[in-house]
Amino acid sequence: MRGVVKRWRGQRTAVLDGVSLDVTPGTVTWVGGRNGAGKTTLLRIAAGLIMADEGTCTLRGLDPERDRRKYQTNLGFLSGGNAGLYARLSVRAHLEMWSRLAFVPRQSHRALVDRALARFELVELADRRVDRMSMGQRQRLRVAMTFLHEPVLVLLDEPRNSLDLDGLALLVRALEDLRVRGGAAIWCSPIGEELGTEPDVRLVVEDGKLVPA
């Protein structure tokens, strides 16, 4: 990210004011900040969900607008909260659908889905509908979808949401695997939250700027 500026309509000050961030392969970057500081906005811009007013954002040289498909293929985004699931679809149906939306090669669909089920300990829940699962189980599914297509950059917006210690351990293990294969992650959460892993870089959003924690 280079010089990213984002202003909300009707607000005088920018929520992000010239933010620059380099994420090195094989690292996890933690971004903290008070509520409303702009952490989610930062991730949403990086995810290509919303556009910055100024500045650029690239992933391996890919632009989220010009190279949208390739950019998104390389990206995994876990949004904040517990949304983004279909209440009446099963765990497996979610993973299978996402593998196809993520343009996973046809011959790899089943293997990746089975791997995600095993990796996030969802095998026993595979055929269960989402509305019959606990919030923590749903979060595990959301995390599984984020990592399913083996993205090179994973963006996590308060991923601990509803996760118990076992769930957190699974997330941390997935991040370790990501580091090992040369991927990177940005983990956003409020200051003081226990991460369960030691990030390589610690930053904080303050007054629209990204500064070392």
Partner: protein, 270 residues
Amino acid sequence: MTVAAGYISAGLALVKRDVLLFFSYRFRWISQLVQVVLSMTLFFYISRLVGTGRLGAADDYFAFAVVGIVVLQVLTATVGLMPIALRQELVAGTFERLVISPFGALGSVAAMTVFPFASSLAIGVAALAFAAVAFDLPLQWPSAALAIPIAAVAALNFAPFGVLLAGAVIAVKQAGAGATYVITFFSLVGGFFFPITLLPGWVQWLSEVQPFTPTLDLLRHVLVGSPLRESALIAVVKLCAFPLVLGPLSLLVLRSALRLTRRRGTIAEY
């Protein structure tokens, strides 16, 4: 996997999602079928009151209305349900996931029009069969098969209206009322329940600048043998020409709505 194969696979994944969600409510399709059957029955008895020079006998009006009911059902599913489904996606946060998928929002919205169209068409076929069996609807079996290609082209005509309303939902978040107006307007000027020749002359031109009137004309002709208002060739040309204009226009509007809301940062809002 080629890019084209990837897009097709992703589009089919969304169609499969819609199928699974639809059938997760076990009685939903039955209730839709019952609704159409009741409409058929209602119009059958209303048609017993009809005996005008414009439509001939009561049975002629019933045949006229049955095709209108079926097409209106398809129109409602394709145009009216799209904004509702999309709004549900926005509220549930699932649309956000579609936007950041490699398949993208544009493809996702387009794919979302497929199942409502196909399912309403299937229910329409069942309704026609019911009308034929229960009320002696004079289906023209030799030409009825032509309804399939007409329906396929009709899909390309109906979908842009759903896509346009999807753009409105993304931009202003509420477009349910707009869908109701669109459906009501076209049911009035399209000739769904009465011939457009009954409309005042200064309104009739509206029947010529939308695709529903030629769709209805052709379907009535091949299904129940109603005479065409104009030559079949002209009706077919109209039916093929509208999507060439409406398709790109609707995608352009949707794309603009997506870009606007991504720039404003309101795309995930509802």
